[in-house]
């Protein structure tokens, strides 16, 4: 039985809405199996999709398996187009209540797991700080102060200029004339009373799927207090923005019309009100939020004054970057990316022309789009390095803040003991997280965790961390998949298990980018000509060899019969590259050798009719024609 595309395409309707986690939702979810490729996941990958959200487990550095949530259309774009991997989707029928239970389980885990890793990071920061302090002759300890790096340190000639007089006035009206004095006193007292956790302090061990209680981190609290003090300094002193954090350019794309200027002026008024509120806020980390609000007031004022968008540099200091020499390899892609960034900026600017008051989320979207556009423009026009970042870009450039002596009057051996205790606490927490989330190829991987979460979501009682409880899954999904049984931890066998155990009402495949492009070529050209031209990386018009892929000559993902023959040639190519790499070793360049060895390894399965390597793409425009729809099968 077959369904037409009208139904099939629902599976991958981009931007499909998703119901609230607690509301009755659509009566199905999608189980996604992503075929293997070299690099990211040579064993294949799986994900579970709830409308616009796709959840999947990724193997992180440090041997951890972490849950990730992506926008569904971006997930499909990344895997099928950039990574050139077909996705096999199975739609599973469920009741709205079951849908809500499943989605809530994954959503919950996302925030609770993230909190546990944040606690680990704060424990490790305490450890690092105390260890450094223990070193003889060490420099005064510093902690990074979020958003403090957006402002220049005023020099001796700087005089308070009243730049934020309206904020101060509003804060005094709201919280009393002495609010700034009171806040400074609070900060000074809290800094003086900061305590290093004693050697006896013990963290409650993290539990799966539970809110983790977090003891106060010495480093985090110190940073918060210093951020607050810096924010008050900037507020009262009119601290200037650093010249290198303000981004603008004489470009038409940044020119503002009167309506947009009016919208920004209104936003500035609102921002002043909010900055005043933050002065009296009870949240512990109000300092960094106040710093950002003040910095944004500065760029908005410049935008209004010049009728040209000026934005804070929103990239993280450690953002990955492509140096100019590396960008040469992407010369043809840069203009395409710039066009896309220009379109994104134009879309983000639409909020300036609407009637609704600009919210922070809207302004962040505008900042993000503007930063990406300016970054790509600088790389294209001036050959600058290109910084890379996904997601919303929230300006947060940090500056080091010097701590008072963290352990005054404490003997060196006692300091060492405190440092040792901090190290023990961080190590124990890391060990527990490793026990809960440590990646294991066979027992805890992207497949096993999805099925465990499904079973736990539908179990009568939360049995997290215990044996698989199948009762609820059996009742609600028609079956239960134990990843430990019958090799079902392997992605493609797990996909078969889904078809066998759950109530799958439809299945579909989204072809890889190359498969889709090939299908279109076969439809309009001579088959033999297409095959001969596109079967290899030299004459292919779809694919260009790239350093991220291992060296190979023939594609083997779209052909079965010739796979061993092509694989043998690829093996020779891999061995040849390895040999050339050996010759380059004396120059200190091991890159070619490593790529050659990888090419050799990924050619071996091809000799036995198995394909892993498919090639990948640095960029595929999101405006590229969608892959052709393949027939959708309904399993009876």
């Amino acid at each position: 039985m077959r369904l037409g595309c009208a139904a099939a395409c629902l599976v991958f309707a981009l931007g499909a809405g998703s119901a609230s986690a607690d509301e009755p939702g659509p009566a199905s979810f999608d189980y996604l199996y992503i075929e293997a490729n070299e690099g990211g996941s040579s064993g294949g990958h799986v994900a579970i999709r709830f409308g616009a959200e796709t959840f999947h487990f990724q193997h992180h550095g440090g041997g951890m398996l972490r849950l990730q949530r992506d926008h569904s259309d971006a997930f499909i774009h990344t895997y099928t187009r950039l990574r050139n991997r077909p996705i096999h989707a199975q739609r599973v029928a469920v009741t709205p209540e079951t849908y809500a239970l499943l989605r809530r389980r994954f959503s919950d885990r996302l925030v609770l797991e993230a909190r546990q890793f944040a606690i680990l990071a704060s424990l490790q920061a305490d450890r690092d700080l105390l260890t450094r302090q223990g070193d003889a002759g060490s420099a005064p300890a510093t902690v990074p102060l979020r958003a403090a790096g957006l402002f220049a340190v005023p020099d001796a000639a700087h005089v308070a200029n009243g730049a934020y007089a309206a904020v101060i006035s509003a804060a005094r009206a709201r919280f009393g004339d002495d609010i700034l004095v009171r806040r400074r006193d609070e900060i000074a007292r809290a800094l003086a009373a900061l305590l290093i956790p004693s050697g006896e302090a013990v963290e409650p061990p993290p539990r799966p799927h539970a809110y983790a209680a977090a003891p106060e981190s010495f480093t985090q609290r110190a940073a918060e207090l210093l951020e607050a003090r810096t924010a008050l300094d900037v507020l009262e002193g009119g601290g200037p923005l650093r010249a290198d954090v303000v981004r603008s350019a004489e470009l038409d794309e940044l020119a503002l019309d009167d309506g947009e200027v009016a919208a920004l002026r209104a936003f500035a008024g609102r921002l002043e009100e909010r900055a005043a509120d933050l002065v009296g806020s009870r949240r512990p980390d109000y300092g960094s939020a106040l710093l950002l609000a003040l910095a944004r007031l500065g760029t908005v004022a410049r935008s209004v004054h010049a009728h040209r968008l000026a934005l804070l540099d929103a990239y993280q200091a450690d953002a990955p970057r492509l140096e100019p020499a590396e960008l040469d390899a992407h010369a043809t892609v840069l203009p395409v990316l710039l066009d896309e960034a220009r379109a994104e900026l134009a879309a983000a600017r639409r909020v300036l022309r609407g009637s609704a008051l600009l919210r922070e989320a809207d302004f962040t979207a505008l900042e993000s789009a503007g930063n990406r556009f300016l970054e790509l423009h600088a790389a294209s026009a001036h050959g600058s390095a290109l910084r890379l970042a996904s997601g919303p870009l929230l300006p947060s450039r940090s500056a080091p803040g010097t701590l008072p002596d963290v352990a005054p009057g404490i003997a060196p051996d006692e300091r060492a003991a405190l440092a040792h205790a901090a190290e023990r606490r961080a190590d124990e927490y890391a060990t527990e997280l490793q026990r809960l989330y440590g990646y294991d190829l066979l027992t805890r991987n992207c497949v096993s965790e999805i099925f465990r979460e499904i079973a736990a979501a539908l179990a009568a009682d939360d049995l997290s961390g215990q044996a698989l409880a199948c009762t609820g899954s059996d009742a609600r999904l028609g079956g239960c998949i134990d990843p430990a049984a019958r090799l079902r931890f392997i992605p493609f066998l797990a996909a078969n298990a889904v078809a066998a155990e759950y109530q799958v009402i439809a299945s579909d495949e989204v072809p890889s980018y190359r498969d889709g492009a090939l299908a279109a070529m076969y439809a309009r050209e001579n088959d033999l000509a297409v095959f001969l031209r596109e079967s290899n990386v030299i004459s292919s018009t779809i694919y260009r060899p790239r350093a991220a892929d291992s060296p190979f000559l023939f594609f083997t993902d779209d052909t079965v019969l010739t796979r061993p023959l092509f694989g043998a040639v690829n093996l020779v190519v891999g061995l040849g590259a390895s040999a050339a790499g050996v010759l380059l070793l004396p120059t200190g360049d091991a890159e070619l050798l490593l790529r050659g060895l990888r090419g050799t390894l990924f050619s071996l399965p091809e000799l036995a009719f198995a394909n892993i390597r498919k090639g990948s793409f640095a960029h595929v425009p999101r405006t590229a024609p969608a892959p052709p729809d393949l027939p959708t099968h309904v399993d009876s």
Partner: protein, 155 residues
């Protein structure tokens, strides 16, 4: 042997080869990024939806806000259920907000609605509602109203 069977055998061999030779299973989180990460959306953080260039900006924006509210709700429900101190809870709220592109989470009504919904989901008593309202919102009537709206609403 049918095509499907051959396909399965091929995939099994591929998976076995990958596992045996490379010990690589699931997708690896790649911190090095590709050039496609120079624009939003390609890497797919759910919060990217607010910057999408597609036509339905309003819908995407409200969807993004709804996801933020849900994260706050889920986080609040777990906090109410398992306990902890308020300052630490607020720091967690700050982290969630930053993921969604917000630094001033106190100014976002969705924060307070989400807190109210989380209290409801955790089956918090009216006394717990009052206590948490006071601890988080102080005497700010607008925030308290949003919390109450989330607590009594359908979400």
């Amino acid at each position: 042997m049918s095509n499907r069977a051959m396909d399965n055998v091929g995939r099994f061999l591929a998976a076995a080869a990958a596992a045996a030779v490379l010990s690589l299973g699931c997708s690896f989180s790649d911190s090095s990024k590709s050039i496609s990460d120079s624009i939003s959306g390609s890497s797919g953080s759910i919060s990217d939806s607010s910057t999408s260039s597609s036509g339905s900006d309003d819908k995407k924006s409200s969807q993004s806000e709804a996801l933020y509210r849900e994260d706050v709700r889920n986080y609040t429900a777990a906090y109410v259920r398992d306990g902890g101190d308020v300052a630490s809870f607020q720091r967690g709220l700050g982290s969630i907000a930053r993921e969604h592109g917000l630094s001033d989470w106190e100014a976002a009504p969705a924060t307070w609605t989400g807190v109210g919904e989380g209290l409801k989901r955790a089956a918090a008593s009216p006394q717990q509602l009052d206590t948490m309202s006071r601890e988080l919102a102080g005497d700010d009537v607008a925030k308290q109203r949003e919390i109450a709206r989330g607590y009594t609403g359908p979400g």
